[in-house]
Amino acid sequence: MAEKKDNREVVLRLSDITMQFGGVVAVDNLNLDVHKNEIVGLIGPNGAGKTTAFNCITGVYEPTNGAVEINGEVVIENYPQGKMKDAYKGKNQGKYTKALTMLPDKVTKLGVARTFQNIRLFKGMTVLENVMVAMHMNQSESVFGATFRSKKAREEEKTMREEAMELLKKVDLYENRNDMATSLPYGKQRHLEIARALATHPSILLLDEPAAGMNPQESDDLMKFIGRIRDEFDLSILMIEHHMQVIMGICEHIYVLNYGGQIADGTPEEIQANSAVIEAYLGGDE
């Protein structure tokens, strides 16, 4: 594995992350770094454990072993306990001794926002409301004040609305702000998911197959868009993607998973030349 040299600070670090469901190891000893303002790609064939890795970072799953560091602080850590102690099939058992868990909303509050592989917009709400939901966590008025429309609540609602509008303008959805989220065309729904994630004021953005289902023209636009928001919002981005065009076009560093295990990492050029990766994609047996 190629040693990675980067002087920027590490904002997200996965150490020995292993996720085992019953007897199946979905993610096997994943080590990954995302540096400040870096765009990192996570690729691998279907079922390689990419989304599971995302779920471990965002607190949806508790990893079976390993730790997640966000901005230099360990926020998630676990080791095989209980029944898993004997059933554990991964590496580095015993290396971790703490059990730190974090719910997804807390992870989001730490500045890690995500999108979903199968779009998960709020169906019963308008585009604008979808974005405003993501700002809810940053408002400070109590439910009582909000219900009875205290001065603070009105001000906060107003700022929220203005900010959401602003954001929608940036992602070209301003015209659609009052449409139902599900009535948007597919590509715009993807944009909205990203806009919604941005509304949580993240420093790290996790994109799960943002270009899925897009044609070359659309994915090209998306690529530019991702680059633009990275600069505009000062983001570090970790993305899962199957469109190699996109991955190779914008990622500075790429990690490759297969059957849960990490088979390679490096710059796009290195990955393209890596024989293990080619084998994984072409299928070694055939």
Binding site: F21, N55, F116
Partner: protein, 292 residues
């Protein structure tokens, strides 16, 4: 000591066996459709009610057969009319539909019976008094657990060994994939309802032979308790439902025996909440992982 508690334990085992026969319907339907079939208890009640009217024109043995057929037809038609059209609808809608069907069955029974309690026909053999140790009880108390266990063993064999049983297991594991694999989902569901309602009908014969009054609400409480038994045993698991039902039956009667009669029904729900908190998958259930 044992003599004092014997009648309660006997009653508990009997009623537990009857709950078990109802609970199987709940657990199988839930296992496959992920639906609490609220109307199941009312199908049970209707099986009892129809028996009352049938014995006036048919001999007892024939009535029992017709009652079982009737319950099966009722259950499967409920599924066809009220659940099948909603299969792709949100889970809440199908549950509401189940509650609606339950409401309809109860009110229809209310109309038919005029709100009066109907006395269940006497099946002499089941209702004759027997003495066990120092306690005297009805024959049905002795028959119920034996019959229940025999039926459950047969059912488990059916699920484990036959092709349709395999299909049922597949569907309960993964609804969509099994339908892609060419399993006729509708047929599997129909068979599930046939088994569930048939057993409920047998349960009704035993239950109402023991507690001979039937009124429109007669199915509601046993239904809820049977459902709790199914959850307790691990929903989707037939042996689990049976074990759960026996435990609930016995505990309920012991609680009454201890003088806490006000809480005999509430106890079931306390048990439910404890099990949901401590081990939501029940005694024999399996863990499900939500996909994100």
């Amino acid at each position: 000591m044992i003599n004092t508690w014997l009648p309660y334990i006997l009653a508990g085992i009997a009623v537990g066996g009857q709950y078990a026969l109802i609970a199987i319907g709940y657990t199988m339907v839930y296992g496959i459709l992920r639906l609490i079939n609220f109307a199941h208890g009312d199908v049970f009640m209707w099986a009892g009610l129809i028996m009352v009217y049938l014995v006036t024109i048919l001999p007892i043995w024939a009535s029992i057969i017709v009652v079982i057929i009737f319950a099966i037809l009722l259950g499967t038609s409920i599924e066809k009319v009220a659940y099948r059209p909603l299969r792709s609808a949100p889970r809440m809608s199908i549950m509401i539909s189940a509650i609606g069907v339950s409401y309809l069955l109860q009110n229809f029974a209310l109309y038919i019976t005029g709100g009066l309690t109907k006395t269940y026909p006497t099946i002499k053999w089941l209702q004759k008094s027997v003495k066990i140790g120092s306690a005297s009880t009805k024959m049905v108390t002795v028959i119920t657990p034996i019959l229940t266990i025999v039926l459950v063993v047969l059912l488990v064999l059916l699920i484990q060994k036959t092709k349709i049983g395999m299909a049922m297991r597949a569907v309960s594991r993964d609804f969509e994939t099994s339908s892609l694999m060419g399993i006729d989902i509708n047929r599997v569901i129909t068979v599930t309802f046939v088994i569930g309602c048939g057993l409920a009908a047998i349960g009704s014969v035993l239950y109402f032979s023991n507690y001979t009054g039937i009124q429109p609400m007669s199915g509601a409480m046993p239904g809820l308790k049977a459902f709790v038994a199914a959850v307790f045993g691990g929903i989707g698991s037939v042996p689990g439902a049976v074990v759960g039902a026996f435990i609930i039956g016995v505990c309920e009667n012991l609680i009454k025996g201890a003088g806490w009669t006000t809480f005999s029904d509430a106890f079931t729900f306390v048990l439910l909440i404890i099990i949901l908190m401590v081990k939501p998958t029940g005694l024999f259930g399996e863990k499900n992982i939500d996909k994100v």
